[in-house]
Symmetry: C2
Subunit: 371 residues, 2 copies
């Protein structure tokens, strides 16, 4: 890891990706160190950003989209500093943008954000805009992507919270929170809004093996905001639903985020989501996907075409410094799974809550779609 | 941990619990250290055995039953050495036996084995058998429990293997292997027999959070025997079934062990089993419980009465030396869950494979039942 170090104390609200105007650099909250350390890292080059995305210093579909957008700004700045002009300038930026675009394969927000930045670039180039102005305009666009993401999260929070009963008990998986987005959260944005309305009694957080984003990030993020959270392992959700029901209450909803959603509603999200959806179905618990329009991939009719990242087996064979199985152990380590649309009770978006069958019509109205 | 140390190299077949005749002590394979170290510990007192059971140096329902039986022998030896006689001798042994009986609450084999040992004790006391002879007879009885367990495992292996197709792909959870039993395995006994018949293509082992008995024990045990095994996390079983099916093969069966089975077939097993059963059901994959008659509790009409051990939250908040969440994090950590009988395709026992509805008739024929 060659990232520059810039330790600070935590501040609120959580800002996983931001732009340091005075230095012209991106600042990332290092999510590989939470909850043990809250460390912000500065990212000044595209190479460092690619590394930060692929090693999950920044993770979460919307957050890596925003990080990718700022990465394109870094690419343009670099080309400007090297004195490149015209088509050479354009080619240098595009080449680095494509490297960013490929730094993780499953979450479509990254591709969407890069494509939006490139569309902006092409428009400026055609108009013979000076390179310095291009850099400034790209920065404005990236900041807009960030601001829009937070605004979408807040809208989703309102739409989603309205689905929940009083004293709601909610199960979530992985981290679809402030850390995974511009700063409010998709699934946890709904939780935040419900809690603000006094309607969230408890969040049960799947720890989310192998990388434990639930245990590390979701628990920390909710604790920071004083929202009640109970940590469980991924295999406990069924027992939890049965046990709470036997006690006279029950789980009211499962709410998770998404990395890519096909036109029919099939949803790729962190591995373990599909099992949780099956468990919810068996218990009659509503299962919601909370995701902005930028997570939908209208080029895919269904989930079969979603590329699933396979990650290194060492994530399973060991946990931190603790070895579990022998190093030569054969493992299967897909980073994501696909939950079929028929298991999904509703899609909580910035425009409202939709059934899978309503998605194509809504998505056709969206101004920006994946090219 | 006050257990005496006695490091040796691994030997085959795996013997998790055995009696050292020359020293008059129990020898336990320390399952908290596998796969990093293969260490046998000698246990010379009941106190040490209680600690070994509660800290899971020995674990697995049949294995802790056997360990408990040998523990009663240690209790009798201790009373003999202290020169106790008559009712005082009996009372001393019973008191220690009850401590053993309570060292873990869920697996019924422990209670069954202790009760069988106490029944033997009472019979000998009534006949005014000399204390030395009582000790010898109790040792014979404990060794018989061990030998019978292995024989039952081998019978279950044959009955279970007959259920499987050629090139079977099997998912299992936790460790229901040689390590969990007298030495052949319940679920993994079926796997062993199927592999010996050339019919087991792959075992997919759930790592089994929080204590990772799948990742640590099942993987090691199968690797030792050269049986192909792939490690997955507990949240991957659904994705695995979908992915293999899409590739034209599929998972042929889920086979797990049990800690306690009620008369109607409701089955307590390691936490995460219930989720796996729901996932199997959703994919039309047969879900089998492999367990000997000693794991059935005929005193319980259904699973509601099975006591579920809640273990310390530190098992979830950290893994080995690696912290996950803050120490003050609220966790829920049930050691077991109950899978309802209607999710279970069959019970693989030493007498054959039964449907839940056939269990009461079969169990009524068993010579020994829980008192």
């Amino acid at each position: 890891m060659t990232l520059a170090f810039c330790a600070t104390t935590a501040h609120k609200p959580i800002a996983p990706v931001s732009w340091n105007t005075s230095k012209g650099e991106v600042v990332l909250l290092d999510q590989t160190l939470i909850p043990q350390q809250v460390v912000y890292r500065t990212v000044a080059t595209v190479e460092t950003m690619v590394e930060a995305i692929s090693t999950m210093v920044v993770r979460g579909a919307p957050a890596i989209g925003i990080a990718g957008a700022f990465g394109v700004v870094l690419a343009a700045q670099s080309a400007l500093q090297r004195g490149l002009e015209g088509s050479v300038f354009q080619e240098a930026v595009v080449q680095q943008a494509l490297a960013l675009r490929e730094s993780r394969p499953t979450a479509v927000n990254l591709m969407w954000a890069i494509d939006r930045m490139l569309a902006t670039l092409y428009k400026l180039i055609i108009r013979h805009t000076p390179q310095k102005e291009i850099c400034d305009s790209l920065l404005v666009e990236a900041q807009l992507i960030l601001d829009e993401d937070i605004a979408m999260n807040r809208a989703m929070g309102k739409h989603g919270a309205a689905l929940l009963p009083e004293n709601a008990r909610i199960v979530t998986h992985c981290n679809a929170g402030a850390l995974a987005t511009g700063g409010f959260g998709t699934a946890l944005g709904v939780v935040r809004e419900a809690f603000a309305q006094g309607r969230c009694a408890m969040v049960y957080a799947d720890e989310t093996r192998p990388r434990q984003q639930g245990g590390k990030l979701t628990v920390w993020e909710l604790q920071e905001d004083g929202i009640p959270v109970t940590l469980i392992t991924d295999g406990m959700s069924g027992a939890l639903m049965r046990t709470l029901k036997a006690q006279g209450s029950g789980v009211d909803a499962v709410i998770v985020g998404a990395d890519r959603i096909a036109l029919n509603g099939d949803t790729a999200n962190k591995i373990g989501t599909y099992n949780l959806a099956l468990v919810a179905k068996a218990h009659g618990v509503p299962f919601y996907i909370a995701a902005p329009s930028t997570t939908f991939d209208t080029s895919l009719a269904n989930g079969e075409g979603i590329p699933i990242e396979e990650r290194c087996g060492t994530e399973i064979v060991g946990v931190g410094d603790s070895a579990i199985a022998a190093e030569h152990t054969v493992v299967w380590n897909p980073g994501f799974d696909v939950t079929p649309a028929d298991l999904i009770s509703g899609f909580i978006t910035e425009s409202g809550v939709f059934q899978a069958s309503q998605l194509p019509q809504w998505l056709a109205q969206q101004p920006v779609s994946l090219t």
